[in-house]
């Protein structure tokens, strides 16, 4: 189990570096929705880290033109995050790459894969 986590983490970092992104940047891109701008604080909550941390991560994503900050109309304190066109394209390729089943799991039989999926679902439902 421990081993599997380690392998998965390696895989995740390898994919992130394919896109020249850091793991938190990938998490941020995954969470943001091109159709629906979200405030920084929500991203911080999703990433389970401090607001001030998100500032830096978004700074670097914005430098690369992947996301944009925009003051909310209703409350000008909150900055809404939107994904740019380039960002959406990267996000899609990233999602496709991450959805490929990891090597150890791909080598399992179809029945095992199904069983695994069902057990995982039950585990997360109970959580």
């Amino acid at each position: 189990m421990f081993e599997l986590l380690h392998v998965s983490k390696q895989r995740f970092m390898a994919i992130a570096s394919e896109f020249d992104l850091s793991p938190p940047q990938v998490m941020a891109l995954r969470h943001l929705d091109p159709a629906e701008p979200k405030p920084m604080s929500e991203l911080a909550q999703a990433l389970r880290c401090d607001n001030s941390n998100v500032t830096g991560i978004v700074d670097r994503l914005e430098d690369r033109g992947l996301v944009e900050r925009r003051a909310a109309e209703r409350d000008r304190r909150v900055k809404m995050l939107t994904i740019t066109e380039r960002g959406a394209e990267v996000r899609d390729r990233l999602a496709a790459r991450l959805e490929e089943p990891p090597a150890p799991l791909a080598s399992l039989s179809i029945e095992d894969q199904r069983a695994l999926r069902d057990i995982m679902r039950r585990a997360l439902d109970r959580a």
Copy 2:
């Protein structure tokens, strides 16, 4: 699956901080064996990071008196890492804590847990 990884990572970091250790420090302690000193380079390989990185991690573990560096007799370039008495005690408590099944998995039925374990084993054997 993604979600499960995220949850597991959170759990791991929470346990690490219970012991006032960082994740890499925990990984290092887990890898070292109180009975058998190992060279820095082997730890670097296990942690999949640069030698120079291990230098810093071991520095901080040594500052807390958890591990010790000792020049190998055969080749004085290599530093053998040993776990101190305090280190072994921490390592044991840590192992016990990490072996407790994580909450989402613990809530599964016994059959599901067994099935999960068997599938995991098959996955890692094939890898």
